[in-house]
């Protein structure tokens, strides 16, 4: 079921988008319930889903034991869906029950590539996130160059 547009308007990643853009995106997003201890992404797996946190708390950890936690509405999980080699860099586990918006990775990539202005706005937000998280990744220089 498509997500309500008012929900999307409150999220930071979508704050600069027009209502037409939001309508286009809402058809691709659906809400998923997440249970405590559930694994959303596993390091090395194909990055098939992109998530935006609506509620709950999450931990993303990487090889070597580095980790960070997400506690805020609007935090993003699974940015690797739009980055080659399209494999998750970290494992995400839910620390509490919560809810997230999920979008198929291929649809997300298609959206960004098919709509230049929309894609540009989304990529700006995503790049900030990628940059913040780059220090946790082994392939830090590779991610920055990308």
């Amino acid at each position: 079921m498509p997500t309500d547009i008012s929900t999307l308007e409150s999220l930071e990643i979508f704050e600069e988008l027009s209502s037409d853009d939001l309508a286009e995106i809402s058809a691709l997003l659906h809400a998923v319930r997440v249970g405590e201890g559930e694994v959303l992404t596993r390091r090395g797996d194909t990055a098939h889903t992109f998530y935006i946190v609506l509620s709950g708390n999450y931990m993303i950890y990487f090889k070597g034991g580095k980790a960070f936690t997400l506690h805020n509405r609007g935090d993003m999980i699974g940015v690797a869906t739009i980055l080659t080699p399209f494999r998750y860099r970290g494992t995400t586990v839910a620390l509490t029950d919560g809810e997230a918006l999920a979008m198929a990775g291929d649809k997300f990539l298609e959206l960004i590539q098919s709509n230049a202005s929309l894609g540009d706005k989304l990529l700006q937000k995503l790049t900030e996130v990628i940059h913040q998280r780059s220090s946790y990744l082994e392939e830090a220089t590779e991610a920055n160059a990308h």
Partner: protein, 143 residues
């Protein structure tokens, strides 16, 4: 020989009475000890504070102990926090957060994920800025 006569001949009454008494005494003793155990452990944990109080003479001096932050945690989380502290000591600091989660789960901690989350939100566990985590020793739990 049967009946009451047989019981008396073989000292049955004494064996039964003493036997029941010993079983009761053993379990009463154990139950009394256990009922005081958690109080004794509480006193042992607060021994630092008691020792500090005992050492101080008269009013507060300018040299005070570092200010400790009082954090409220629900009783069940407080107990889990204690167990996490033991695991952190075992892991050393700074420690990898996923390892703490794994050990907590293996040790049978109740709801390890949400417990660690509570500790993160309460700033009992704090990031070191390099992807690892530290235990904040400046907090004291209240419930």
């Amino acid at each position: 020989m049967t009946g009451i006569e047989a019981i008396s001949a073989h000292n049955g009454w004494s064996i039964a009475i003493v036997g029941i008494s010993i079983v009761f005494s053993g379990l009463v003793l154990l139950s009394l000890t256990i009922s005081q155990l958690h109080k004794a452990l509480d006193i042992w944990e607060r021994r630092g504070a008691y020792w500090e109080r005992f050492r101080r003479r008269g009013p507060e001096t300018t040299e005070t102990a570092p200010e400790r932050e009082c954090i409220y945690l629900p009783p069940n989380v407080k107990e889990s926090a204690r167990q996490c502290r033991l695991l952190v000591e075992h892991l050393g600091q700074p420690f990898p957060l996923p390892k703490l989660l794994e050990f907590s789960d293996r040790c049978g901690l109740d709801h390890p994920h949400s417990t660690i989350n509570e500790l993160l939100l309460a700033r009992v566990i704090i990031p070191d800025g390099e992807g690892f985590y530290l235990w904040n020793d400046n907090v004291e739990f209240t419930s």
